[in-house]
């Protein structure tokens, strides 16, 4: 056969250039993905390498030392963070799930749509602004900071996260299940509480865990809602409490290298908690999707 007859196959035309460009894009994309993973490894690696040396039983179980003294720990910050996040979760999770129930089970689209939109806007409000809001709402009238004020801010930050993920999983619950319940004459509220919610439980837990992970590291609103606290182990939500994010923030701005080491150690505790929560949340999500056949 003459080459002429194979012109389409052998005449490469602009193909060389096109293939070279394609290769360049492929290499660029792969590099970008590698870069992202490398950055993650460097950040988490730095936290781990620098934090692990200062991490000890003593560090975890001793309250922060007096200003200028070393040898303290973060037990008060761990407890304070736990209290604030727990109060926030108790407020935000039920309300968030209720909002989701309203938009998916009760509200007509003409109301559900705007509510969703408001949740998205709320999710986009910078957390420092939420802090200012709660400052004006609680700290100004009361005249002092409190862990409760911080919890309220964290709850407002959690609310749209919980509500939006809950909406997504509730819409995944098969309509046939609800119809079957209605056909049996079971009231709407029983159907919702006994059938819809349990079916979607895995997804609801996922959304809640992700929201908790998100606010556990939240720092901005705490700066002026719960940052002036007393010495030692405090637990009363009516007064300001220590927290891990504030501990890291303060230590990171200090010039002392001991403070830096302590900041890394606290960061290691926080990052381990947040990443573990994320992994657990993902596991729940995968299981729940499988259960609903989505």
């Amino acid at each position: 056969m003459s080459a002429n007859q194979h012109s389409l196959l052998l005449d490469r035309g602009n193909l060389k250039r096109r293939n070279r460009f394609n290769k360049a894009v492929e290499i660029t994309s792969t590099t970008a993905a590698v870069l992202a993973v490398v950055v993650l490894v460097i950040v988490v690696g730095s936290v781990f390498l620098k934090g692990v040396s200062a991490l000890s039983w003593h560090f975890l179980t001793t309250p922060t030392a007096l200003f200028g003294e070393s040898g303290g720990g973060i037990s008060n910050a761990i407890v304070g963070s736990a209290i604030m996040v727990a109060i926030a979760a108790v407020m935000a999770i039920p309300i968030g799930v209720l909002v989701a129930i309203y938009t998916t089970e009760f509200a007509p689209p003409s109301i559900a749509h705007p509510v969703r939109f408001v949740l998205d806007i709320l999710n986009g409000v910078p957390t420092i602004i939420t802090g200012i809001f709660v400052y004006g709402l609680i700290v100004v009238p009361q005249g002092h900071q409190s862990a409760f004020a911080a919890s309220l801010a964290l709850a407002i930050i959690m609310l749209p996260i919980v509500a939006r993920t809950a909406q997504e999983v509730l819409t995944l619950v098969p309509g046939t299940l609800k119809e079957a319940a209605h056909a049996l004459g079971i009231a709407q509220w029983r159907t919702t509480l006994r059938i819809t919610i349990p079916t979607a439980a895995g997804g609801l837990i996922t959304g809640s865990l992700l929201a908790v992970a998100r606010v556990a590291g939240e720092t901005a609103p705490l700066i002026f809602l719960s940052s002036i606290f007393g010495q030692g182990m405090l637990t009363a939500p009516g007064e300001a409490l220590a927290s891990i994010p504030i501990f890291i923030f303060r230590s990171s701005e200090s010039p002392s290298s001991t403070a830096h080491t302590e900041a890394w150690a606290a960061a290691l505790v926080l990052i381990a908690f947040v990443l573990a929560l994320n992994i657990v949340a993902r596991a729940f999500y995968a299981r729940s999707r499988k259960r609903m056949g989505a």
Partner: protein, 301 residues
Amino acid sequence: MDVSKDTTESAAMTESSPDPQANPQTGSGFAGPSMAVAGSAGQGSVKRNRGEGTVELMGLNAYYGSTHAVRGVDLGFAADKVTAIIGPSGCGKSTMVRCINRMHEEIDGARAEGQVLLDGLDLYDSRIDIVAVRRAVGMVFQKPNPFPTMSVFDNAVSGLRLTGVSRGELDDRGREALVAAGLWEEVKDRLKAPGVGLSGGQQQRLCIARALAVEPEVLLMDEPCSALDPVATLKIEELIGELKQRVTIVIVTHNMQQAARVADTTVFMLDGELVEVGPTEKLFTTPDDDRTEQYVTGKFG
């Protein structure tokens, strides 16, 4: 099933084709070089100016992971002819066709072995670029799939744009492709409208125009009418009759009547193996193999 009537109709539709039964095709013996037949009225007068467009499969095997989907197929497709491939679902007919333009290997874990010769040149040869293979061997899919973000015209020239054709030439060749696909009269006033706004049958002909625009030597059609209504199906079948003068056509179909209407040669496959090849009329009336007979008479599948 009244097969002979159907074949007569198809012969009437494709009156310009030479003797439809000229090619007993097993192995390598093809009829001589095809004659460049002028297109029928209104279809332009594109002649083959490159290779002939004969395709030969030699010892073709295709796999999905550990599944052996095509088993040692030897088969030839003559230029200027329509070859239909029939067989029950899962018999490997689509997979075999997708090996001809090397689309099979786009699927994760899929691979092919053996040779696919286009005018004697192996498409799996390391010197041949996969992109060039797709230019030489066009494809039309089961579901009409015009690009939703493009206008009718942009869809028609979407393949051409990749090859670096000049803007002036683009207009002519886009129009020419739409004419060849029998779509020009219907869309000439809305070339800028979205391609997905057309009816299903028009969308499929737009996809045919898109494939024809790059002037391939072979056109693969993977159940092109399975998503269309009978009227749209008829239009596509008429079009196939007209197009075989410009391209070698290989059509996969689950519809035996369709094979009988459009194909010069029909291939019957079963469980990844080639069972029988023959002139369409013979295969449907006096097949050599018992399994073919059982299938075409509706005893299984």
